[in-house]
């Protein structure tokens, strides 16, 4: 009898959790955030990094971008359309320019999701050391446009938002 009571309470709780997850958790927004956080994690390198890790990271960044991605980040003088196949070349150039780099996305917010498109905004804190060893940190607001393609989110555009306009 007691066992049955516990089982009923357990089943009711499980059902309540399932209903909550189904109705109140935005799974698409979570997927978009996960995709972007993973991009930030992969956009990192350090002098002691192995060749294998470097190749894996580059491949991972490449997979997160769409076939063609419009990048508009004036702070880094990047205003161009980047093809997915050119990502390794650009990242190699970046690695030659900065001997160490890491990116952290703070205040990551999904502003809108209208399937198959999504728009997210974040503050990107870039911590970098130039080839000459000089620290070159930057903090910028980035707006991402993503497209869902075969159950996978892909970044189609990255735009820097001007917080202060000179």
């Amino acid at each position: 009898m007691v066992m049955k009571k516990y089982l009923t309470v357990g089943a009711v709780l499980a059902a309540a959790v399932a209903v909550f997850l189904f109705f109140f958790v935005d799974w698409e927004a979570r997927a978009v955030k996960k995709h972007l956080r993973s991009l930030a994690e992969e956009m990192a390198w350090s002098p002691g990094e192995s060749q294998l890790t470097a190749v894996t990271r580059v491949k991972s960044v490449q997979d997160k971008l769409a076939e063609s991605c419009q990048i508009d980040i004036p702070s880094y003088r990047i205003v161009q359309t980047v093809s997915q196949k050119d990502v390794p070349t650009y990242l190699t150039m970046g690695r030659n320019y900065y001997k160490e780099l890491s990116v952290k996305f703070e205040d990551l917010k999904v502003e809108s999701i209208q399937l198959p498109q999504a728009r997210a905004v974040t503050t990107a804190a870039v911590r970098a050391f130039g080839a000459d060893g000089q620290r070159n940190d930057e903090v910028l607001v980035l707006e991402f446009t993503l497209q869902k393609n075969e159950k996978q989110w892909e970044i189609t555009a990255v735009k820097e938002v001007q917080v202060l306009e000179k």
Partner: protein
């Protein structure tokens, strides 16, 4: 007697009243430090000598509930959110013209005395009219080149508050 008090302080009786008090204190602390007094640490040299890197402060977010930012207020400007903010000084408001000539600040053509500055500056920046609903903010450290200093006009809605001290 003192031992009894210490004992009571560190090992209180867990009553319903005590738990309610703990919840209320936690809730009040959450609201205060999330929306009213936002703690932050200064990183960077753009506001030296007034605010040096590594110093700790609180952003008083209710400062502009009934007024608008005006020179020479020091304000925090939010980026995508409030986790990372810019700390700058307001030098002009909407409709005013801002210009830098040989390191001196001119607002509406008049030279502005800035006692909070230290070090020499050689900034030159063409006259800019501040758009409606915007304020013009600059850091105090003008000894660095203007190209590497983040300044300019920003919408008033981006202003979160002022540092507490």
């Amino acid at each position: 007697m003192t031992g009894d008090l210490i004992n009571k302080f560190f090992f209180p009786k867990i009553t319903r009243q005590y738990l309610l008090r703990v919840v209320l204190v936690a809730l009040a602390a959450f609201i205060i430090f999330k929306y009213v007094l936002i703690p932050f640490r200064v990183q960077g040299e753009s506001m030296t000598p007034a605010y040096v890197t590594g110093s700790f402060n609180f952003c008083f977010a209710l400062r502009y509930m009934f007024s608008k930012p005006a020179p020479p207020d020091v304000v925090t400007v939010r980026m995508a959110g409030r986790k990372i903010m810019l700390l700058k000084r307001v030098v002009a408001t909407e409709g005013q013209t801002v210009e830098f000539k040989e390191g001196s600040l001119f607002v509406d053509g008049k030279k502005v005395e800035e006692p909070y500055l230290s070090g020499k500056s050689n900034w030159n920046h063409a006259p800019t009219v501040v758009k409606p609903g915007h304020v013009y903010v600059v850091g105090d450290n003008r000894s660095m080149p203007a190209e590497s200093h983040v300044f300019g006009q920003t919408p008033v809605e981006r202003i979160v508050g002022v540092p507490l001290w």
